[in-house]
Symmetry: C2
Subunit: 246 residues, 2 copies
DNA sequence: ACAAAAGTGTTGCCCTTACACCCATGC
DNA sequence: GCATGGGTGTAAGGGCAACACTTTTGT
């Protein structure tokens, strides 16, 4: 019942290595991971960048990342690089896209597997620059310095992914501190999605998801105090179930 | 206004290559592309597989694919490999995921960038096996032979992506021949999504998208003839606009 | 007392779903 | 003439968008 195309086509443009049995006989690229880590502090959506100390692009800001080790799963490499360069551990990470265009790295043939991460404002405050990496800093996504390599493109892509994620999930709270007000959460959505939202509809929707609970505490500030919320364990479970893997 | 974490953390577990300035000084993986190409023929959703002639996994079925060339964009490598191994050209391709787990290839450290493609039943019929590749054949996704490497996992992931795509777009017609009946199209959705759909609701929805037009012809078969449709240029434009790109 | 943010319900509309019968052809 | 898939409309319910005023605090 299976259709089978058995007919050979004449030999043309068939490179020697297309079906090489030895994986070691042909030129190989370097492979890196880069991590686009988002958080939300000081009223802005921010990305973590590191100032490069070495060429190429010494002095430029760049995404945290580095070379993948042999026998290391890609996601482990991303987690490791992030830890080494910033001290950050145990955060939400997912694979974003793999960039391999010729010329993206002046050192030669370098393919990078980009990861996408979200970190709470609490954890973001603990970021430290690692030894070799130079400064680490959080930059407003909408106001970036000149970046090394094709990292601006990678961040733009990650921002799209973040928007898409917030559009159909309630994961915005992952960017905030452990407890937060609904107005703060709404600000996250408005700034990420770049559109104004209706206060009543926003609250109705977010609360109907059953992923938030009141802490019982209030945030006192300039005006009327606001209820503080935290997200429930269920919120994380729900998202893990939704996650498409692989 | 930007928060900056400047404090160094003490040196530990900092591998030499984490910030190497030469990309050539450290072990490199081989990098391949693999293509999961779907079509819909003989009442089934099918994937294109190629029977391997060489070790490892000689005789096993595997996804079309092969090594990326230096100075070759990844998507170009996917298109080239597909062309070389099957003669197929000019089809819908998008990056799926990058698999790099240790042990996924017995030859050593091999990372693969998987692509996802859709081909019309018309084009699918022209598939030919390339010189080095052995047979090419279309297999029912729900009834696969034992596969080489981690290709079964890759196909499962691609199937999820296909489901997701059909859930929120009208792209099912890309799997069918140039002209098709609405019942055929509904069968595509039912088999991909693995659920029964309501005939009237399905037609209403698909037609309200304004991506199909009547050809004016009928398909004569066992019973009452059915109107044949084709998709409009607008359908393709719409999808390109939606495509999230990097 | 006033300025500023927090908090709270209702209504209309649209989109989705559920559901059953006649029609045109081949045999 | 009968078996088979092709083709069609309507009504109810749920979710989403639009919309304005009162409450509570700090100053």
């Amino acid at each position: 019942m299976t259709f089978r195309g058995r007919v050979r086509y004449h030999k043309e443009a068939m490179p020697e290595n297309a079906s090489a049995s030895s994986a070691n006989a042909y030129p190989k690229p370097s492979v890196t991971v880069d991590i686009v880590l988002f958080t939300f502090t000081e009223e802005a959506l921010r990305v973590l960048l590191i100032q490069r100390r070495r060429e190429p692009f010494a002095g430029h800001w760049a995404l945290p990342g580095g070379f993948v080790d042999e026998n290391e799963p890609l996601e482990a490499a991303a987690a490791r690089e992030l830890y080494e360069e910033t001290g950050v551990q145990g955060i939400y990470l997912e694979q974003l896209y793999t960039f391999g265009d010729p010329g993206r790295d002046p050192r030669g043939w370098v393919i990078t597997v980009a990861y996408f991460g979200i970190i709470s404002a609490d954890q973001a405050r603990q970021v430290r620059a690692g030894d070799d990496a130079g400064h680490a800093a959080w930059f407003n996504v909408y106001n970036l310095p000149p970046l090394a390599f094709d990292h601006e493109r990678i961040i733009r892509y990650a921002l799209q992914r973040l928007r898409y994620k917030l559009e159909y999930t309630g994961l915005g709270f992952l960017l905030l501190p452990e407890s937060f007000t609904l107005s703060q959460l709404q600000a996250v959505y408005e700034i990420v999605l770049q559109e104004k939202l209706d206060k009543r509809n926003f609250r109705k929707k977010i609360l109907s998801m059953n992923i938030l609970e009141e802490t019982g505490r209030l945030r006192y500030g300039d005006h009327r105090p606001a209820k503080l919320y935290r997200f429930t364990a269920r919120a994380i479970e729900l998202e893990k179930a939704r996650r498409r893997f692989p």
